[in-house]
Amino acid sequence: MIPACRLADLPRGEAFRLDSDPPVSVFHTDAGEVFAIDDTCTHQDASLADGWLEDCWVECPLHASKFDLRTGAVDAPPAKRPVRTHEVVIEDGMIYVQLSTAAPNLPACVAARLAGAGG
């Protein structure tokens, strides 16, 4: 499990991006729930942590595809593939993320860059 940040340091309506590879973001919703999903939109290289968080959805900051924080599902193109969801554990006020073992759905340009970097 990867420690993300303290719950007290992540106000409701905000997101925290982990510099994992690929990056993962933790969202604290207005209703007080905490979710973790892959940070990169599956359409293009955009950080979902920069997006518009509303209820259990985050809208990509660029092209308005929305991802369901609970399932990773996308509502409509331009993104067509879901993001991965990751298990969140909160212990002693600390947020931990258990990374999914599934293959990430990265946009082509990001996948190529990671491959080129030997990652």
Partner: protein, 391 residues
């Protein structure tokens, strides 16, 4: 559904999502399934993505619709009601969504001249992409977003590019004078020549193709001040006009497109309009505004379909302020709101010289628009503050 691009597709989706279970006919004058237009001036033109990646429908998506593609609507009969097609067919309907979009304006006098392009459709993009593949000098007429994006893409492909803009500052309409200047400075950063404040007189048609002397091909762009800019390829990025000619005499009120209420209703019951052809009333501005943005074509059909299905009884919440983006020379440009009503512009983050800026437009102290260059996080924060429903 008259129109099979993003607005028409979004309306079809909204109909099914909102419980409409009857027959759905989608009429499109292009022969293609719905595709995404923004990449046409960027990744598609650059050759980074292919046509399959432009598809707007998911692979497993089934809207249970009858698609009449390559079929142009020529008339709306409000009494039957029905839509007449160019091939003589007539489609009866209980409700009509007008989503016929807009068409690129062309340069008068350049009809039939090889090497002169517009960019709106996939077919336009295929032609332009094929011509850019053979290199040479590109002259872009119009320093708006389409022109700037094509200039950016072509310069990255190694072309010598000149942009000609009639106004003193490009993008001053959507972004205002100050920030229009900041954004259009990207051209010079990347070796693209920008000529402002000069009109275009015409295109010289005595150019030569690489395969030998051919008359009737663009050779130079002729400016009002007498200059001639040599060109192998010319792109006219001079705006678009709403495709509403087919509605003349139908009883649907037209005024810079289809005149609509703030929920997409037209002057005719059972008929709504969305996308680039629709001139919606903007309650915040107290005026009609025809919004030609991708996000409007995607979001507003939800409201218009609620209006249609409820017979006008639904009062959906107003649309979010208009939002658009542009990618130029590797810089992400985002804009939301209306610049025209602002009395001040303040740089809140970054610096114009770094091409990394967050600028907030205010009227009487209230934020009415926000512009970001490579500032997605701060941009979203400010964008939310423009939204009355987020308060």
């Amino acid at each position: 559904m008259v129109g099979a691009s993003l607005a028409g597709l979004s309306a079809a989706r909204a109909l099914r999502r909102q419980g409409y279970d009857g027959r759905l006919v989608v009429i499109g004058d292009e022969r293609h399934r719905p595709y995404d237009r923004p990449p046409l001036s960027k990744e598609f033109l650059a050759g980074d993505i292919g046509e399959a990646e432009l598809a707007l429908e998911a692979d497993d998506e089934d809207l249970r619709a009858d698609w009449l593609l390559g079929a142009r609507a020529t008339a709306l009969d409000r009494t039957r009601p029905s839509v007449r097609l160019a091939d003589g067919r007539e489609v009866r309907a209980d409700g009509v969504v007008i989503a016929t979009g807009a068409a690129a304006r062309t340069l008068p006098g350049t009809e039939g001249l090889a090497g002169v392009h517009v960019l709106r459709t996939l077919d336009d993009a295929r032609r332009l992409r094929a011509e850019l593949a053979s290199g040479g000098r590109l002259v872009v007429i119009g320093g708006g977003f389409i022109g700037a994006e094509v200039a950016s893409t072509a310069s990255a492909l190694g072309h010598e590019v000149t942009v000609v803009e009639a106004a003193p500052t490009p993008l001053s309409g959507p972004l205002g004078e100050t920030m229009g200047g900041v954004v259009s400075a990207l051209h010079a950063d990347h070796g693209v020549r920008l000529l402002c404040g000069v009109g275009v007189r015409g295109v010289d048609g005595t150019g030569r193709s690489s395969t030998g002397g051919v008359r009737g091909r663009a050779g130079a762009v002729l400016l009002d001040d007498g200059r001639e800019i040599p060109a192998d390829v010319v792109l006219a990025g001079v705006g678009a006009r709403p495709c509403v000619g087919w509605l003349e005499g139908s009883g649907v009120a037209l005024d810079n497109g289809v005149k609509c209420g703030a929920d997409g209703r037209t002057s005719v019951p059972g008929v709504v309009a969305v996308g680039d052809c629709a001139n919606w009333h903007d309650p915040l501005a107290g005026a009609h505004r025809r919004v030609e943005h991708w996000t409007g074509a995607r979001e507003r059909p939800d409201l218009a379909v609620a209006t249609l299905l409820s017979g006008g009884a639904a009062h959906p919440r107003p649309p979010r302020p208009p939002y658009f983006w542009s990618d130029q020379y590797g810089v992400r440009i985002q804009f939301a709101g209306h610049a025209s009503g602002a009395d001040s512009v303040t740089i809140e983050e970054g610096a114009p010289d770094d091409r990394n800026v967050l600028a907030v437009y205010r009227r009487a102290g209230h934020p009415v628009a926000v512009l970001g260059m490579n500032q997605p996080r701060m941009f979203t924060r400010w964008r939310k503050q423009l939204t009355p429903t987020a308060a």
